[in-house]
Symmetry: C2
Subunit: 153 residues, 2 copies
DNA sequence: CCTAGTTCGTAAGGTAACCTTACTAAAAAA
DNA sequence: TTTTTTAGTAAGGTTACCTTACGAACTAGG
């Protein structure tokens, strides 16, 4: 009596999983040094994936507020890993580019990501991995919908 | 050239997913009021699942440091949702119990969890959900191993 | 029994990932 | 040309953690 339904436990499992994944990523990241925090590494990763984009576009892709991105970019810029170039077609906007110095860092981040991946998948039979990854992508899409819904206040 | 391997993207997807799940949980939680933060709600949930346990046991189950738990329990206790009773067999230890007042809150947390679950699974064909949940559990187990390995310094 | 080492919870203080609000400068619309 | 929108940012807050340092109580070893 009064018990929330059984599936609730499964969802908390997912919430816990989220925590653990983040933690693992942070731990692996600190192992490969880089001197970056998780947020900064994530940002660098996104700049690598979307080079020469405006901060607003980047923030949108990362699902953080523009202001949050500013902080990460400030650090990365001070460390000489990215540069902000004024958009020739709009003097307010800045296009974010990687510097050559970022290359080795990206490789380290890649190593960390790889480690997390191996760990997460180590007990999953290889033939199921493909399925899992697709399902995860689908999950992400579902969750994104709601996040953006919330935004268009 | 210089590109980290392709799977790196998939792992970042999982890292992003972790972020989104947390965020969704927080958002849903604030919708159903409760006045609790995500960490506090998670704690209450665990007390419900492991009633009458010591704080150390609880912290262990939640994979947080005992000190982290103290903060959450302090808030919950002040709100009259749990109580700490001295363990009769060890005057240092405290056993954590729910109070009756916690019941409705737990139901709200259940609602929030349910919402996250629906959202996360909405685009997943029902016949795949079972598989997904099993895979997620397996993933969690893999990640936990490493976390605990790190702990036994 | 008594001393030495463990264990339980906790106070103090720190870091990192975010967010909101408020502002300036520039562009776009009216 | 005035008004409105948009791009970035400074300032400051919240939450989820962690580490370090301790005192009080249990457990062993002699």
């Amino acid at each position: 009596m009064g018990l929330p339904e059984p599936n609730v436990g499964v969802t908390m499992l997912v919430v816990d999983l989220a925590r653990l994944l983040r933690r693992n990523f942070e731990a692996e990241l600190s192992k490969v040094d880089t001197g970056l925090t998780a947020g900064e590494a994530r940002t660098l990763f996104y700049v690598w994936r979307l080079p020469g984009q405006r901060q607003a576009v980047l923030a949108d892709a990362m699902y953080v507020e523009p202001m949050t991105l500013v902080g990460y970019l400030d650090t990365l810029e001070k460390a000489g890993l990215i540069k902000r170039c004024t958009d020739p077609s709009d003097r307010r906007a800045k296009l974010v580019e990687l510097t050559p110095k970022a290359q080795p860092l990206l490789e380290n981040i890649g190593t960390a990501l790889h480690a997390v991946r191996s760990r997460a998948l180590e007990n999953i039979p290889p033939d199921k991995r493909q399925v899992l990854e697709m399902l995860l992508q689908t999950m992400k899409d579902g969750l994104l919908e709601e996040v953006s819904k919330g935004k268009q206040k």
